[in-house]
């Protein structure tokens, strides 16, 4: 679908209060509708099984163009898949291993190491282990007592976490570039990115949802502005 020439009908489905002239419906209302529109799904949490996921799924079933796509939501929130797809798209990423073994992390990654959860229950934050005992503690917690694997990333620089809204962020330079590239690939309107700056270069580590209370009035203004622009010009990335 060519959306470069503009989108005549944009329907925003949002769980967040926004100030925009574009029509907005709540997620639960949208799930009962059979509207044929371009759907912009605004949510602070795009995790699998959450209402934001079902909104995009419903739009896709109706045959509507929608951002973000339900498949992208799953992939973006699964750190190893997120890193693999980002890397394939040319975004600088940190190397990683997926494992349930402390020994493997020590031998293949070493210290210090950043551990991200890869299980159905823990979805925010990460732990940094600088020695064997802190790694055991991190593993026990993030693997849920070794039931699930974790994603281990070497810590070679400094970790940064920031909000990305339609690919825009408050940090500049490489951070902004990575944020834009992630948006181009996954089209997650609101998310938090974890990156590592190594020798001045920014490398992607993970994407996680933003808590509702973390969204400031200026973030919401930015979301409203982006929706307004999208309704006038279309989303230039979707072709």
């Amino acid at each position: 679908m060519d959306l470069l020439s503009g989108v005549p009908w944009v329907l925003v489905v949002s769980n967040i209060d926004l100030t925009t002239n574009v029509p907005i419906v709540s997620p639960s209302t949208f799930l009962g509708l059979s509207i044929k529109d371009f759907i912009v799904n605004i949510n602070n949490d795009y995790r699998y099984l959450k209402i934001g996921y079902y909104v995009s799924l419903h739009a896709e079933t109706l045959g509507n163009p929608v951002i973000p796509a339900s498949g992208n939501m799953i992939d973006a929130n699964r750190t190893p898949v997120f890193l693999l797809r980002s890397s394939k798209a040319g975004i600088p990423t940190m190397p990683y291993i997926v494992t349930g073994s402390v020994k493997q992390i020590i031998s293949e990654v070493g210290f210090p190491v950043v551990i991200f959860a890869v299980n159905p229950f823990i979805y925010d934050g990460f732990k940094i282990a600088t020695n064997r005992s802190s790694l055991y503690r991190a593993m026990k917690s993030l693997s849920m007592n070794y039931k699930f694997a974790v994603c281990a990333i070497p810590l070679r620089g400094e970790m940064f976490s920031f909000k990305s809204i339609f690919g825009k962020c408050e940090l500049e330079g490489d951070f902004e570039e990575v944020s834009e590239m992630v948006y181009k690939v996954f089209k997650i309107p609101i998310c938090k990115l974890h990156v590592q700056r190594v020798d001045g270069k920014v490398h992607l580590c993970s994407l996680q949802p933003v808590k509702r209370e973390e969204l400031t009035p200026s973030d919401l203004r930015l979301v409203s502005e982006e929706i307004f622009l999208m309704s006038r010009h279309g989303d230039p990335v979707i072709v």
């Binding site: 099984l49 799924l57 419903h58 699964r78 898949v81 394939k88 694997a149």
Partner: protein, 296 residues
């Protein structure tokens, strides 16, 4: 011309080896692959980074978009490997809301179903549901597998109690009409062809194939009665194939109820159980067909 050897990784977790019937089936897969000249290795979660060295990945650990198996599947898929179960099948079959939405869209006969959001968990809506489906109804979490997270409810109080439990993980649930039968058909499908057919009997006094005993961690399962796929009713196979055609061309286990002479799909499962002496009893070529599909 000699066929080149393929390296197949079979992604498993420790629990896949706790039941001897499943362990024997896994060994049958290995034996068959090796007999056909391929290399077949069991891959545990510690060795996921080895995926690129294989030609194909066969997943036997439980699949779900939130489990490690999805990461294995998607990684293999992104690297261009043949993978069973593929990520799209996991995505659809792993979420019953997605599955029934597609059934509805493409006209697959299925159990009467409605979806329930958190906002709809109120008296008026529940009265409507009981009026539409009668009592009891079946409440299903979208991530159900192995008969877990599926409950029969006959009153508003238990409906609310169970719905609240399921809503902890998913914001949308499935509500279905209760259709009791003595058995569910299980049709194994691979690449758009019927692989095996059996009946999953419902244990006496129960309403689903697998039942957890109150206060005990163990499940009791009904008998599995296998039959030659050629002998299964043609209409049954037709319904099963139609249900799978909207998902993909992988390996599926289709649960079907025969009710009033009609076949209605209960659900399509990716990663279907294959136990030695059960699903394979009357169709011994199950292993060979799957291995050949993986390496072609």
């Amino acid at each position: 011309m000699t066929q080149l050897l393929s390296k197949i990784a079979c992604f498993v977790e420790r629990y896949n080896f706790t039941d001897p019937r499943e362990e024997n089936a896994l060994q049958n897969f290995r034996f068959t692959a090796e007999k056909l000249g391929h290399e077949f290795s069991f891959m545990f979660k510690e060795k996921i980074s080895d995926i690129p060295v294989y030609d194909a990945v066969f997943i036997r650990a439980t699949t779900d978009p939130l489990y490690t198996a999805y990461i294995v599947s998607k990684t293999a898929w992104e690297l261009g490997l043949r993978v069973v179960d593929d990520p799209e099948s996991i995505k659809i079959c792993g979420n019953k809301v997605h599955l029934y939405t597609l059934f509805r869209k493409y006209g697959v006969p299925h159990i009467p179903t409605i979806f329930l959001t958190k906002d709809e968990l109120h008296h008026k809506r529940l009265v409507e549901i009981f009026k539409e489906f009668g009592k009891p109804v079946v409440l299903k979490a979208p991530y159900t597998s192995f008969s877990r997270y599926v409950e029969k409810v006959a009153c508003e109080t238990s409906f609310r109690e169970i719905a609240k439990r399921f809503f902890r993980k998913s914001d949308v649930l499935v509500v279905q009409k209760f259709m009791p039968t003595a058995f569910d058909w299980r049709v194994g499908v691979l690449n758009g062809e019927v692989l095996y057919v059996c009946k999953y009997m419902i244990p006496k006094g129960r309403w689903k194939h697998g039942v957890k005993l109150r206060g005990k961690p163990t499940f009791i399962w009904g008998r599995t009665v296998a039959m030659k796929r050629e002998n299964a009713p043609a209409k049954l196979k037709e319904v099963a194939l139609k249900a799978c055609s909207i998902i993909g061309n992988g390996l599926y286990g289709v649960d079907i109820k025969e009710f009033g002479g009609e076949y209605v799909v209960v659900e399509v499962n990716d990663n279907p159980s294959i136990y030695a002496g059960y699903e394979d009893l009357r169709n011994k070529d199950v292993y060979e067909k799957i291995i050949k599909f993986l390496v072609n």
